[in-house]
């Protein structure tokens, strides 16, 4: 009897966990299925590379794709060094109960929950108007960086904290300087966490509309510099789906490109991290 009970308990738990995981996967596959079903037949080489026409109902998304990459580039170019620096400060240069550290951590946790439209209005006021950058890819990228930083810093900080202290002590006992310890021991160990932070941050950035519509703007011309206004893929999808009568087919096709771009970026960033790790570990 008791053996049977145990068997029931074990198979019951397994079943519940399987059901939970399956239920989580279902929306993703429904969404992808819907995108593929409605978008795939509008997808072509010229759609990806040509300029939009007739408010996006015709033509392609070439300039919008380029603008999106520029915006993401600015965002990550600013967020990565600042995020890494702050995470190192919080994890390696201050104690966990250190007052400035706690203040920074607390403010980051609040920032992480701020709605993106607030970041959009903030970015419009600070970057577009006070700094005089106007509607530009630079304004949009900097606004996104502000939005991504909290997630990035907190994930990276936690992955530094998860490294056992013995590793730091062993490095110190071997006479390694702190920068060398960080570069050769802590960084490779924290790399998976860093990667998660980057992927989560990029995911938030690439899907953003509200923070960008008032900062990088609505112009769908090919950008010539970071000072040009440039429409992102997500803003384009929003406009086609919500504002342009008859824009749905191209909204689906653009969404398909957006998801593919996310896959490519995630894949290549994990490959880059793997390469970096193989170069920077101390010889055994």
């Amino acid at each position: 009897m008791s053996r049977q009970n145990r068997y029931l308990q074990e198979s019951g738990t397994t079943a519940i966990i399987w059901i939970a995981a399956t239920l989580v996967a279902v929306p993703f596959f429904c969404l992808m299925g819907d995108l593929l079903w409605n978008g795939l037949n509008h997808l072509s080489f010229s759609f990806v590379f040509s300029a939009p026409q007739n408010a996006g109902r015709e033509g392609g998304i070439g300039p919008i794709l380029i603008s999106t990459l520029f915006i993401l580039g600015v965002c990550m170019g600013v967020a990565l060094p600042m995020g890494l620096g702050t995470a190192l400060f919080l994890a390696e240069y201050t104690r966990h109960d250190h007052v400035p550290g706690r203040l920074i951590r607390g403010s980051l946790d609040v920032l992480a929950g701020v709605p993106s439209i607030v970041f959009g209005l903030f970015g419009n006021a600070l970057f577009c108007q006070t700094f005089g950058l106007g509607f530009s890819i630079l304004s949009g990228g900097l606004t996104l960086a502000c939005m991504v930083l909290p997630i990035l810093i907190r994930t990276v900080e936690e992955s530094f904290r998860a490294i056992s202290n013995e590793q730091r002590l062993s490095a110190a006992a071997l006479g390694l300087s702190k920068p060398t310890t960080i570069r050769t021991i802590l960084f490779p160990a924290a790399m998976p966490g860093l990667l998660v932070g980057v992927i989560l941050g990029l995911g938030r950035a690439i899907a953003e509309t509200a923070a960008l519509i008032f900062t990088s703007g609505y112009v769908d011309r090919m950008p010539e510099s970071l000072m040009d206004s440039g429409r992102s893929l997500a803003v384009h999808i929003y406009d086609l789906a919500m504002n342009v009568a008859g824009g749905n087919p191209h909204a689906y096709a653009t969404a398909l490109i957006l998801v593919s771009l996310l896959f490519i970026i995630n894949f290549s960033s994990s490959r880059m991290a793997a390469r970096w790790m193989s170069f920077n570990q101390l010889p055994a």
Binding site: A55, G56, M82, F89, G134, L142, Y218
Partner: protein
């Protein structure tokens, strides 16, 4: 801390350099920033592209955000031209509005429905649930299918504003987004009532789609009555400037009001000023 401080200084320095760069670019005066109504933004962006091809070196940057934002941006000097998909209000008379096109909204029924006209009160009662069957307003004995616009559509706002009802009081059977979707819904349901942009509806009705455009206050829903300004449920698409248009701004507004952009206006389902 030192690292992030350095990075912050770096970003601020970068911003300063770029802001110098930006002010230089704007000093050339070959760029127009236009912000406002999301309804107008796709149309004005298309007009801007055609204007750019005829004026090399000029750039028209169109930003969206809503009519009231367009008006605020013009007042603050953030934008050269604002877009408002409505007439200027009485407290905005110090601004200068130039109408570039008209937009109208019509009530549509299925063509097999014998009803030829509904009063404003009857339409209000149908949408707020006071009238649920066509025989209550002189039609066949059949339940009414109420087709409403989705939240966030300017057509919905104009409809609510004209009939003085709140969207919370409307209990629609079908909620639609685009004009085309509304027309297909009504065309496929003999007992439906909906409302869409006049341009699209008139085009479809004359191209064999079984819908009928109802008059409002006895005024027929046609492109002509909207153009004359007699059709009650219509609005002007307006370009707004702080001072009387001059220079490049005037050239652009004149271009947007000319017959050279009629095809662009029609393609966005609005009504051009000239036939």
């Amino acid at each position: 801390m030192a690292v992030s401080l350095l990075a912050t200084i770096g970003v601020i320095a970068l911003c300063t350099i770029c802001s110098l760069d930006a002010s230089l670019a704007q000093a050339e005066g070959h760029k127009l920033v236009i912000t406002g109504s999301s309804t107008m933004a796709p149309l004005v962006a298309e007009i801007g592209k055609r204007f750019e091809t005829g004026h090399p070196g000029v750039r028209i940057d169109v930003q969206t955000g809503g009519s009231s934002r367009g008006i605020a941006d013009v007042i603050n000097g953030v934008a050269d031209i604002g877009m408002a998909s409505r007439a200027l209000k009485s407290q905005e008379q110090h601004l200068h509005g130039s109408v570039i096109a008209q937009d109208g909204i019509t009530i549509i029924l299925h063509r097999s429905n014998p009803i030829r006209e509904l009063t404003d009160d009857q339409i209000r009662a149908i949408y707020t649930g006071g009238v649920t069957h066509w025989n209550q307003v002189g039609g066949p004995d059949a339940p009414i299918t109420v087709v409403n616009k989705a939240e966030g559509r300017s057509t919905l706002e104009l409809f609510l504003d004209y009939f003085q009802v709140s969207n919370r009081d409307i209990h629609p059977h079908v909620v639609i987004g685009d004009n085309e979707q509304g027309i297909k819904t009504v065309a496929g349901n003999p007992h439906a009532i909906g409302y869409v942009s006049i341009g699209t509806a008139q085009y479809d009705a004359t191209h064999g789609i079984p819908i009928r455009l109802l008059p409002l206050q006895h005024i027929p829903a046609t492109i002509e009555t909207v153009r004359e300004g007699t059709f009650p449920l219509s609005r002007p698409l307006t370009l707004v400037t702080k001072s009387p248009p001059a220079g490049l701004i005037k050239t652009f507004i004149d271009f947007a009001r000319s017959s050279q952009v009629n095809d662009l206006i029609l393609k966005q389902y609005f009504l051009p000023l000239q036939g």
